[in-house]
């Protein structure tokens, strides 16, 4: 256990936690409770929007798993990871102002809400709510396990106590504070991430004797480490390029990203977010994965790749600084978890409860239910994270690609193609989801590409065919004509 690191790590956590609570205290405004709790009253500024986008997106995988793979594969994996700079501008530009105008007109608060108004179909709502709850629930559990392990490896606490500390912190501020508290803590966490990765990268370069020396060491160990093809030469250009769909372009359809694209205050906030978001995502992804590669000559014998970042930070930085820097990956996990928690809660309360169970519930009741659902969900995830069942781990592998394959066309076509109808949307969701799971299970790399590519193509075909073959009697909503 490193005492200094532990103290500064928890200090940073406490600070973030306090900020969230302070904001939630002035959470009363004249917009509706649900719009406020789940969407921050559509009042996000540019900096906060950019930070919450990047922080939500940069999850445990980019901070713990990603650098671990880069440690094993070399520069080829950094090449794959910098694709994500596209998410910084592409998602916001594509969903764009048209989505924000339409969502505002519909008074939509969640992605499902948008789909409901756009397609006017109960089945679209139920299908999409169901897939969001199932998939994001398992992602959440996986993130909590990651956080528990991270705290465990830094502080030497047992996994269970580490997990408990993490859970209590997250739950209190998400339950009480809602979206606005989450986006504010996201901004702090995003800033820690940017500064933290820069400090860590510089410290590693110094301790490795400069970039040239590190490259020489890598080349001497295995020349493939400095090629684009991965440690054993198996990363083909086709396969790596297909990640442009999975971690670049396709992110446009992730519900936790979509909901942020409807929460900004005005177009100038949107413009600022585009620039800041590109900088933040670009810097973080490049740095984190380079750190993973550069750690190799310094600590050559790491067996569990997931521990690369904490181990190398404790190695090259003084303890107190390592604690602060390691608050960055922890912050990333926290911000992913808290936004997912809120999203699943909003799906249950807004999309299911107030649509189909109790449409006329009074505000007080909704407030109580929203907070209760958020808290109960958090507790269930905690119980799962203590003894993770295999099903969760398995489902987690499917989350991002599955959600992308299901939702990319219902969302994008819903915004830009006025003919698209509910039959198209239902066909696209079912085709995307099922084909993705089937590909992953039986034929993981069709045409040498990640299976998300084929599923997205199939889902598009299904959307267009179903839209044309079944005439929708309902007129398309007027805002899109």
């Amino acid at each position: 256990m490193n005492l200094a690191a532990t103290i500064t790590l928890f200090g940073a956590l406490a600070l973030i936690f306090l900020a969230g609570l302070l904001v939630s205290r002035r959470n009363q405004s004249n917009t509706s409770f649900m719009e406020d709790y789940y969407l921050g009253g559509r009042r996000l500024g540019g900096f906060v929007l950019a930070m919450t986008m990047s922080a939500t997106y940069g999850s445990a995988s980019s901070f713990i798993g990603g650098p671990g793979v880069a440690y094993n594969e070399g520069l080829g994996w950094v090449l794959l990871s910098v694709i994500q700079v596209a998410t910084g501008y592409f998602t916001l530009m594509i969903l764009g102002k048209r989505f924000a105008i339409t969502a505002k007109k519909y008074k939509a608060i969640t992605m499902v809400d948008f789909l409901k108004h756009r397609y006017q179909s109960k089945w679209v709502v139920l299908l999409s709510s169901f897939s969001i709850v199932i998939f994001l629930f398992s992602t959440m559990a996986a993130q909590w396990i990651g956080a528990g392990r991270l705290i465990e490896s830094i502080t030497g606490l047992s996994y269970h106590s580490a997990l408990l500390i993490f859970v209590v912190t997250v739950l209190i501020y998400v339950t009480v504070g809602g979206f606005r508290a989450v986006t504010l803590t996201d901004s702090i966490q995003g800033s820690i991430m940017v500064v933290g990765t820069i400090i860590l990268l510089i410290a590693i370069i110094i301790s490795g004797g400069g970039i040239s020396a590190i490259m020489n060491d890598l080349q001497a160990e295995n020349p493939n480490l400095i090629t684009p093809y991965g440690a054993d030469g198996t990363l083909s250009p086709m396969y790596v390029s297909s990640f442009w769909i999975l971690v670049g372009v396709g992110v446009v359809a992730l519900p936790q990203i979509v909901v942020r694209a409807m929460s900004y205050q005005n177009t100038s906030a949107f413009h600022r977010a585009l620039i800041i978001g590109t900088i933040v995502v670009g810097v973080i992804m490049l740095n984190m994965h380079l750190i993973g590669v550069f750690a190799r000559p310094i600590l050559p014998d790491i067996e569990v790749a997931d521990t690369v970042i904490p181990l190398v930070a404790l190695e090259v930085l003084p303890g107190w600084l390592a604690g602060i820097v390691l608050a960055a990956p922890l912050a990333a996990i926290m911000s992913t978890v808290d936004s997912l928690l809120l999203l699943v809660s909003s799906t249950i309360v807004k999309d299911i409860y107030s649509n189909y169970i109790q449409p006329k519930a009074p505000v007080k009741r909704i407030r109580k239910i929203s907070m209760t659902v958020t808290a109960v969900l958090g507790l269930i995830v905690y119980l799962i994270a203590i003894h993770p069942p295999d099903l969760i781990i398995w489902l987690n592998l499917y989350t991002i690609g599955g959600l992308e394959a299901a939702f990319i066309w219902p969302v994008v076509m819903g915004i830009y193609w006025k003919k698209g109808n509910k039959y198209g949307a239902i066909a696209a969701i079912i085709t995307g989801m099922i084909s993705y799971i089937a590909f992953q299970a039986f034929y993981p790399q069709p045409f040498g590409m990640h299976s998300v590519v084929s599923s997205i193509v199939l889902s598009l075909i299904a959307y267009v065919l179903a839209t044309y073959s079944v005439k929708d009697k309902q007129t398309v909503s007027d805002s899109l004509t």
Binding site: L75, V78, L79, V82, I83, V85, A86, G88, Y89, F90, M93, I94, G96, K97, R98, A100, I101, K104, K105, G210, I211, S212, I214, M215, Q219, P223, N224, I226, T227, P228, Y229, P237, S241, W244, G248, V249, N266, T267, S268, H271, L274, I275, T278, I279, G282, V283, L286, Y416, S479, T481
Partner: protein, 92 residues
């Protein structure tokens, strides 16, 4: 009247979405060309820039910086401000 305004805003929004697609295509081509154009040689024939292999330097480091610059330019000069709210927009 209102519909006319809406059309105009949507037209601008459509143009911005197309700009997004162009940027991502450019991003991909830049990334791919440098990575596999310069990186396909044997590692002992690589040239190095600031310590990094040239393919990595251009594709990843210059690529990221270039995209940041391009996005800033595009947003500043081609993206227009307008109100997101229908009523507010009609009053202006």
């Amino acid at each position: 009247m209102m519909k006319h305004h809406l059309d105009k805003r949507f037209k601008m929004a459509n143009r911005e979405a197309i700009i997004g697609i162009c940027l991502v295509l450019f991003n991909f081509i830049w990334w791919f060309t440098f990575a596999y154009g310069l990186g396909s040689k044997e590692p002992d024939q690589y040239t190095f820039i600031l310590g990094f292999p040239a393919w990595f330097f251009y594709s990843c480091i210059v690529g990221v910086i270039l995209m940041i610059v391009l996005v800033s330019i595009v947003v500043r000069f081609f993206f227009k401000d307008f109100s997101l709210d229908d009523k507010e927009y009609d009053q202006l």
